[in-house]
Amino acid sequence: MKNKIILSSHGLEKSFHDPMTIKVLKGLDFTINSGEFVSIIGKSGCGKSTLLYILSTMDTDFEGDLFIDGESMKNRKEKFLAKIRNEKIGFVFQFHYLLNEFNVLDNVMLPGQKLGKYKKHELEHRAYEKLKILGIQNEALKKPNQLSGGQKQRVAIARALINDPLIIMGDEPTGNLDRKNADMVFDIFKELTIENKQTLLIVTHDNDFAEKSDRIIEMEDGRIIKM
C-alpha cells in the first residue's frame, strides 16, 4: 500500500499563449506514492501553481500525460474529470471558498452528496467525524461567515476529506493564516498522513512548512531542480 503510485506525470509541458507564447512548464516527470506528504516549493512564477491545477485536472490544456490512480487524464471529457475530482481529489485553497448560503455541515457534505455513495444520515455522521478530527464539530450549524479565518480553513479541509480522496491537494493552504493557525493546519495535515495514511500534495512558499513535510519538490523556471 505504501508504495502504490497515486499520481504520475510524463513530460508535462504547459504554455500560455496570451499575449505571446511562454512555456511555463518544461517537461516534468515525477511520481507521488500513496501516503506521502509532498510539498512543492519554488519562487513566485516558477510554475508551481500552474502545475497543481494541471494535476488537479481542472486545467486540461497541457502537453505530455498525467495519470491519477493509473488512469490517463489526457483528452478526457469534462464530466469524467469532474467525477475524478469529486471522488479522488480533495482541495484546499488559499481562500476557503465556502458557500455562505449553507451552514458548515452542509458545506462539508456537499461533495459527498454529489458523490451519492452514502445515505443522508450516514453522510451527516461522516461529516461530523471529519469536523471532529479538525476540532470544529461545535461550529457545525453555524454559517461560514460567523467563523474565524482559521476555522474556515479547517472547514475547507473537512470538505476536502469528506469523500476519502486518494490525494489532497493544497494551493498555499496556510497562505492567508497567521503563524499559529498555519501551524495548526500543518499539524492537521501531518496527523492525516500518519493516522489516516492520507496522501498530500501541497504547494507552498513557506519553507518552514515545507521542511516539516516528507518530501520536497523544488521548482525553478518551469523545471524540477530538486526532488
Binding site: S49, S56, F95, Y97, L99, K114
Partner: protein, 419 residues
Amino acid sequence: MNKQLIFRIAKALMLARWKQTMVAAIGVTFSITMFVTLLGFMNGLNDLLDDLILNRTAHIRLFNEVKPTPIQPIDKSITYRNTENFIGSVKPNRKKLELHNVSSIISSLKKDSRVIGVAPKITTQVFYNVGEIDMAGVINGIDPDVENQLFSFDQYVVEGNYLDITSIPNSIILGKVAAEKMLTELGDIIQVTTPKGNRMKLKVVGFFQSGLQDIDKVQSYASIKTTQKLLGKTNNYITDIQLKLTNIENAPKVAKEYEALYNVDATDIQTANAQFETGSSVRTLISYAVGITLLIVSGFGIYNILNMMIFEKMDSIAILKATGFSGREVKFVFITIGVLIGVVGGIFGLIFGFGFSVLIDNLPFNTAAMPTVTTFPVNYDPKFYLIGTAFSILTTYLAGYFPAQKASKVDPVDIIRGK
C-alpha cells in the same frame, strides 16, 4: 445527476438574493396577469360583438334573388351561340320570390348531418300606416320556436312574449325604434299595407331591440301564417330558408352545394359579414402581441438577475466545479432558478389574472345597444391560461438558459488563481 441536490443549491442561491428573485417573479406575475386578463377581456368583447351579429345571422340563407338571367335567349340560338353578343337594357326576369318545393327542401335539409337547424322565413316589405304617414318597414314571418332555438330570439324581445305571435292571431312584434316613432304600446292595433296594396290590422304583442338602430327602425316579426295571410298567399309560400351548421367554417362550401342542388341562391355568413371576422382576428392578434411582449420583457428581468447572480457567485461556481460538479450540473442549477421564478410567478399571475377577469366581469356596463348585457364581457377560456403558462415557462427557461450556459463555462482555475 442528483436533482434534489441541484434543487437545494438553486434554492439556497435564490434565498441569498431573495429580493431580486422576488422582483423577477413579480415581473412574471404581472405579465401573466396582464396576458390572461387582456385576452379574456378582448375575447369577451369579440364574443359579444360576434353575438350581436353572427349569432343572429343564419350561417346559410337560401332564397331567390331578383336578377337578370345569366343566359339570355340569344345565347341559346344556334347561329349566335359562339359569337360575342351585346344586349342593351337587360331587365330582371319575373322570377317568383317564393321557393319551389319548400317542404321537400326542408325535410331533406333536416336530414343533412352538417345542419343543426332549419328555419323557414318570409320576408316582405310593408308600410306602417300611422295616420297620414306611411313608414317603410319589413315584416319577417317566422316560426318563433325554431327562431328562438337557432338565433336566441327571446333575448331581443324586450317586452311581451315572443310566443304570442303564434298564439294570438294577426299579431306582430315591432322594432323598438319603430314603435317609439308610432307611439305604440303593447296591445295597440296598427295597420300595415303590402306593396301590392293588401291592408291588414295587426295587434302589437311585443317589442324587440337588437341594438342596431337601423334594424330596430324597420324590422318587425309576425308568424308565418299571419304573413302569408297578409300577402294573400297559400301556406307553402316561403321566401327564405335559414340554416345553422355544426361547423360555421363549412358555410361557403355547403352554400355552393345547396345552390346547385336546389337551384336557388345561397349566401354564407362569411361572405355576408366578412368585416366582423377581420375585426375579431385583428383584436385577438393585438392582445396576443401585447401579452407576449410583456412576457418577453419579464424574461429580460430574469436574465438580468441571473447574470448578476452568476457574477456574484463566481466563487461558489468555481468551488462547485473544483469539488466535482460538472458544467452540466452547474447549468441546471441556474436553469432551475429561472424556471422556478417562472413557475412561481406564473402561478400567481394566473391567480391574479383570474381575479382581475372576475373583477372586470362584475363591473357594470350598460349600453342601450345591448339590452341583455349588464357587465363587461369576459371570456374564461382555459386556452389563455394554458398559453400563458406555457409561455411563462418557455421565456423563463430561455432567460435562464443563456446565463446558465455562461455559468457552466466558468473556468475554476481562472477564479481560484485570481484570488
